[in-house]
């Protein structure tokens, strides 16, 4: 069954752009352009993800989240809003949004976030201590990394970074996602501090013989520890 994504957005052109990304992910999309109709639709349909604008006819999407939840929807909510300052983002996340993407957004960024949300919905709770990707092994409890059975020394933050990559293996992960999820920061630090940290982790893995982290075309990185099958 195809996953359904609800888009609540009053700007037709942006709604069309979001719809394109949703369909590119192979999901079915439904578009509503007011807060009221969006809340009603969220309760009526079985949605995996809701892309919710803030300054909508009828009110603020962030204030509408409680009503969406109260309506019985178990969808994950991605706020997509022009209110994009750090304070706005923190407010949205604190009020229960699962992710918050400021406008203007880049197509890759939206795609990466939608994928992460769709994955989050299906991810099994693993009590497995070991995450193994071919030659790369991560032990969660011991907080160790091995490549070809050789120990790779990483800093605590590099370990968290690797875990985040591993949880989103095979998907593009953007710098903004890394800052938000690994460092819990919601502002744009300007210079690409994230690149330095990813670069260090990447070099350590490469020295041990793993090409797991690759730069993705555009805005981020991809953790692809296994060579694509059949190539």
């Amino acid at each position: 069954m195809t996953d359904r994504i609800l888009i609540v957005e009053d700007d037709a052109e942006i709604a069309a752009a979001v719809t394109r990304e949703v369909e590119a992910l192979g999901c079915a999309s439904v578009h509503r352009d007011t807060l009221e109709s969006g809340i009603a639709e969220a309760a009526a349909g079985d949605y995996r993800v809701i892309v919710l604008d803030r300054m909508l006819p009828g009110g603020d999407g962030v204030e509408g989240m409680a009503r969406i939840r109260a309506g019985g929807s178990r969808a994950l909510i991605l706020i997509l809003s022009a209110l994009g300052r750090a304070a706005n983002r923190v407010e949205g996340l604190e009020k229960g949004a699962d992710d918050y993407l400021p406008k203007p957004f880049e197509a890759e960024e939206l795609r990466a976030r939608l994928r992460a949300l769709l994955r989050r919905g299906t991810m099994q709770v693993l009590d497995n201590d070991l995450m193994a990707f071919g030659e790369l092994e991560i032990r969660l409890k011991a907080r160790t990394v091995h490549v070809r059975r050789a120990h790779v020394a990483v800093s605590p933050k590099e370990f968290e970074l690797l875990i985040y990559f591993a949880r989103n293996a095979g998907q593009v992960v953007t710098r903004m996602q890394l800052l938000e999820n690994v460092w819990n920061l919601h502002f744009d630090p300007g210079t690409n501090v994230v690149d330095v940290h990813v670069g260090r982790l990447r070099r350590k893995l490469e020295e041990a013989g793993s090409q797991a982290i690759q730069t993705a075309r555009g805005e981020g990185y991809i953790f692809a520890p296994l060579p694509p099958a059949g190539v």
Partner: protein, 461 residues
């Protein structure tokens, strides 16, 4: 001097209110006491005069009687009358008649009092004198009758003195009672007035603590206090409206700018074959948004300055540590010598996100301007305030530039010349965030490089 944090209100307001109340009570008591003292003084004087006058009238009557007897039978009649009166006197009258040689002929006294000279010959009451005889006050008339007979007639003033003494006692008691009553009334009145002023002060405190919608409950009374409360409410309404309008405006600006940018970005994605141009256009847009966000963040932090609302206990040590972790690696990559000394567990009232952004701006700034080999140090320690210090050994500020680096859009000429990019908003945001937290920002003098110091008020335990 660094831009000072908004000075706090006096820590203890209740003693001040108590002092005003006491002062008013004391003034009331003193005023009432003074007025009643004046009134009672006048009354006292009047009683004194009237009673003395009455004794004088009695004395005049005595003299008239004696004069009538003298008319008939001279000294003999006087002597008889005086003997008779002395025998029946109740002690309030005094008579004395001497002969030519100074022997007592009749009277209530054994001898002529010393220091009293006879004045005139007639039986008129004037001139009369007040003298003390055996410690008692008397109103006396001393005469020498024709033929050398000294005559003394007097009336005791002791009853007058006793009455006046009783009056004085009564007045003193009354005075104390009036002063106490006035003090009590003054205290009650002042307490009521201060109570109503206190209500307004409490309201101001609540507003200052961030509750801009706080209002006094109940109807306004139809007096000056009601008017004052109404005026304060009107001002608060106006401030709240302005505040709301400001927030609405920044939201509207964000919406109206970012939505079209969003469409532009969407169209850029559809351009093919000119990837370099598209990449640059995207970077420009991102940069424009960052400048714009910084300006809004600065305005917001400045608007919220001095309002305690929205600030929660934050572990400053932890935030500083996290930001150091983020920026230490880039500093090393650039060839700087980074070092951090962060005292653990220092807490402030703040907004974690703003504090993180501030530390990030300071570290980012230092890394941007320093050259390989320079050192970059982050220090956090507890003094009477929590002091966060970012010090580098880079080029420092240009000659003649000081606090104005914290102004918006201030950039050094040499940076433009060297091609270092920026808009001069990083440090302006640092200052706005410091002021938002009531922290003091300063640029201590150093031999080399730039040191920025931020002194945070400690979080209440």
């Amino acid at each position: 001097m660094p831009p000072a944090a908004p000075s706090g209100r006096p820590a203890d307001e209740r003693p001040i209110r108590a002092r005003v109340t006491l002062r008013l009570a004391a003034i009331m008591a003193a005023g009432a006491a003074l007025l009643s003292l004046l009134a009672m003084g006048l009354q006292y004087r009047l009683v004194d005069l009237r009673m003395t006058e009455a004794q004088r009238t009695l004395l005049a009557a005595d003299l008239d009687g004696l004069a009538a007897l003298y008319e008939q039978r001279r000294i003999i009649a006087l002597r008889e009358a005086i003997n008779y009166r002395s025998a029946t006197s109740g002690g309030e009258e005094m008579f004395l008649l001497l002969d030519r040689r100074g022997e007592v002929l009749a009277g209530t006294l054994p001898s002529w009092p010393e220091g009293l000279d006879a004045q005139g010959q007639g039986f008129t009451v004037d001139p009369a004198r007040e003298i003390l005889v055996n410690g008692q006050p008397w109103l006396m008339v001393a005469r020498e009758l024709p033929g050398g007979f000294p005559l003394l007639v007097g009336r005791s003033l002791a009853p007058v003195d006793q009455t006046l003494a009783a009056l004085r006692h009564g007045m003193l008691g009354l005075l104390v009672a009036i002063a106490l009553a006035a003090a009590g009334v003054g205290w009650l009145a002042a307490r009521q007035v201060m109570g109503r002023i206190g209500r307004l002060n409490d309201l101001a405190d609540r507003v200052a603590a961030g509750d801009l919608d706080a209002r006094l409950p109940g109807p306004r009374s139809p007096d000056e206090f009601g008017l004052l409360e109404r005026h304060v409410h009107q001002m608060l309404d106006r401030i709240a409206n302005l505040n709301r309008a400001t927030h609405r405006l920044s939201d509207t600006i964000a919406h109206e700018m970012r939505t079209p940018l969003n469409r532009m970005l969407g169209r850029l994605d559809r351009i093919e074959g000119q990837e370099e141009v598209v990449r640059e256009a995207r970077a420009e847009m991102r940069q424009a948004i960052r400048v714009f966000d910084s300006l809004l963040d600065i305005s917001r932090a400045e608007a919220d300055q001095g309002i305690g609302g929205g600030l929660v206990p934050v572990d400053l040590s932890q935030v500083a540590g996290e930001m150091w972790e983020l920026y230490e690696a880039p500093a090393e990559e650039k060839g700087l010598i980074p070092r951090a000394e962060i005292a653990p567990g220092l807490r402030v009232l703040g907004d974690r996100n703003l504090i993180a952004q501030m530390v990030a701006n300071l570290l980012d700034n230092a890394i941007k301007y320093c050259a390989p080999g320079d050192s970059l140090t982050l220090t956090l320690f507890a003094a009477d305030r929590h002091v966060l210090r970012v010090a580098d050994t880079g080029p420092g500020l240009p000659e003649g530039m000081g606090e104005e680096v914290f102004e918006r859009f201030t950039r050094a000429e040499r940076d433009r010349a060297r091609g270092i990019k920026g808009h001069g908003l990083g440090l302006a945001l640092v200052r706005a965030i410091a002021l938002r937290h009531g922290a003091r920002l300063s640029l201590p003098r150093t031999d080399r490089g730039l040191t920025v110091e931020i002194a945070w008020p400690r979080a209440p335990a």
